[in-house]
């Protein structure tokens, strides 16, 4: 593991304690999400009308909501929903963006058509696009992931295509074309390795923005179905209770903000580590 990239990476991480902090918080959230059943939680859906709207206490660490459900358990299980949506969207839109971007960057006649469609999609603000898509399908986690992925992908496509267009004129790519390498081979061997770093950084930003978009969708009633306790849903249900039970919004809100902050810090750290030229500027 003595490649220069890896050494740069470690150096930069040492120089960027915030990125480490982000990584640690994110890791903690992932652990919390995975271990939710063993962290002193009860069934997040169990209703107990007698004990509704209890302030945070030793019994209900984060209080209870208007149906007597334990908010602590709901927030912990909510971490699963938010994180899996963030990661799934980052993964899918990166893969889709990569595939479309690679091909359009090299196949001229497709480029014009695909980019017009992407321009069209990009001129609709992403949150609005996701809202419009969700408004007309059934509320489910798969649909939320699909809608946000569709809204995020065009930006990834544009990034990949831009990189491909500059790489296409690099001497080693031109040489490979001249030597008669097949298109898939050129893309995989010569182009892809040069795209991975910026794409990874972009993926973290997509992940952060997907988690916020999910919360927004759920908050206005167009997101994950109400029987799944996502952070957005917990806050949406607390909307009318806000003045008497602010903690209902506070706990999931703080968790969401912390997680998104952690992902953003990690992304900034990655960017600095992988692209030293930008490191001191942004």
């Amino acid at each position: 593991m003595a490649s220069p990239i890896w050494r740069n990476f470690k150096d930069a991480l040492r120089r960027h304690p915030t990125a480490i902090a982000g990584g640690v918080v994110l890791l903690a959230m992932v652990l919390v999400a995975l271990l939710a059943p063993w962290l002193g939680t009860v069934d997040p859906q169990a209703v107990a009308p007698v004990r509704r709207l209890k302030q945070p206490s030793a019994e209900f660490w984060f209080g209870s909501d208007m149906m007597g459900r334990d908010v602590y358990s709901r927030v912990l299980y909510g971490a699963r929903v938010s994180l899996s949506i963030g990661i799934a969207v980052a993964l899918f839109s990166t893969l889709a963006g990569l595939a479309i971007g690679l091909v359009t960057g090299f196949v001229r006649w497709l480029d014009a058509v695909v980019m017009r469609v992407m321009d069209g999609l990009m001129s609709i603000p992403p949150v609005l696009l996701a809202i419009a898509l969700m408004a007309l399908t059934r509320a489910s986690m798969e649909n939320v992931i699909l809608a946000i992925t569709l809204a995020e992908t065009p930006r990834v496509v544009r990034l990949v295509r831009g990189l491909v267009l500059t790489l296409r004129d690099e001497p080693y790519v031109v040489a490979a074309v001249a030597a008669g390498s097949s298109l898939p081979r050129i893309l995989l061997r010569h182009v892809l390795p040069n795209i991975v770093a910026p794409l990874l950084v972009q993926a973290t930003y997509v992940c952060a923005s997907a988690m916020i978009t999910e919360a927004i969708l759920s908050f206005i009633g167009a997101g994950t179905p109400p029987n799944i306790p996502s952070w957005g849903n917990i806050m949406a249900e607390a909307r009318s209770m806000f003045q008497i039970a602010g903690y209902l919004i506070l706990f999931p809100g703080v968790c969401l903000s912390l997680t998104v902050l952690a992902v953003n810090l990690l992304g900034d750290g990655l960017r600095d580590a992988l692209d030293p030229r930008l490191a001191r500027r942004m």
């Binding site: 603000p125 419009a132 908050f219 809100g253 903000s257 902050l261």
Partner: protein, 298 residues
């Protein structure tokens, strides 16, 4: 714009939800649903529906709301004032706050001022609009009782009341936008400050402020203008949420209500209007490049 219109229509056409079934309610028979579908023209083939929709669009007609039977353009016109007030106030205040923040951060790069601005900017990206909105309400309306909790007063009922009701919504909505612009201003300024002509200006003894604003900021303006334009997308998405939290009777509320009722002519109309606004603002931004950089000609 034609592409946008087609994409908007296609998306909403392809998605499965059936407004007729929802409109008819749970007790309706399949005959009832078919009658409603016919009345709404949902049985026509795709191209016919698209054709008549575009024809209407060209005549300034966005169709009729399924639920209220009122023209969509009428509904949007009714609700446009709060949304325009909110986004416009946020835009102006955010630019006035963010650009100086970014300039100061760049001029004092590496000091605590710089770090504070950058920390604020990363944090601003990470807190969702509505969480911030509730925190602001809790502090400024409930604890301190300085500002109204919710609601909107039209501008003709007095400037003071109008402004008072917009302070918190604008602050909540503007934070992400300020974070974005401040960050870009700082990056762009740092680039320009490293240029030779800035050193020349400093060397010939110009006041530091004059160098910063007259030489550096003007040359750093193109990326800043770009990000202000792109950031409008954040404002539009955020406005829908902000209007919900603060109970502002704007287009955002209209959209949320339309989603709950699957009133899709309204959703189509709103998406189209917002996208048109977004495209137009970015066109204006493109044109403003000519002002900042006379080398750019169209």
């Amino acid at each position: 714009m034609a592409v946008v219109a087609f994409v908007v229509f296609l998306l909403l056409y392809l998605t499965p939800g059936d407004p007729a079934a929802i409109l008819a309610g749970d007790a309706a028979t399949s005959d009832d649903i078919r009658r409603i579908r016919e009345k709404l023209g949902l049985e026509e083939p795709f191209l016919v529906r698209f054709g008549s929709w575009v024809w209407g669009l060209l005549h300034g007609d966005l169709g009729v709301s399924i639920f209220t039977n009122l023209p969509v353009t009428h509904l949007i016109a009714q609700r446009i004032e709060p949304t325009l007030s909110l986004t416009f106030c946020t835009l102006v205040v955010a630019v006035l706050v963010a650009v100086p923040l970014g300039v100061v951060a760049a001029a004092r790069a590496g000091t605590w001022v710089d770090r504070a601005v950058m920390a604020f900017s990363v944090a601003g990206f990470s807190v969702p609009v509505f969480v911030l909105a509730y925190i602001l309400i809790l502090v400024f309306s409930i604890q301190l009782d300085w500002l109204p909790v919710q609601g909107y007063r039209p501008i003709r009922e007095g400037l003071w009341q109008w402004a008072r009701h917009l302070v918190l919504p604008s602050a909540a909505l503007g934070t992400v936008y300020i974070a974005l612009i401040a960050r870009m201003t700082r990056a762009s300024m740092l680039d320009v400050l490293a240029q030779d002509y800035v050193r020349t200006a400093q060397a010939k003894g110009l006041a530091p402020g004059a160098v910063l604003v007259g030489h550096a900021l003007k040359n750093a303006a193109v990326p800043i203008a770009t990000v202000i334009g792109i950031g409008i997308a954040l404002l539009i998405g955020g406005a829908i949420v902000t209007e919900t939290v603060f109970a502002l009777p704007g287009i955002g509320r209209l959209t949320v209500d339309a989603i709950l009722r699957r009133d899709y002519p309204i959703i189509q109309g709103v998406v189209l209007i917002f996208s048109a606004a977004y495209v137009l603002v970015n066109l204006a931004v493109d044109l403003s490049y000519m002002f900042f950089d006379p080398r750019i000609r169209y």
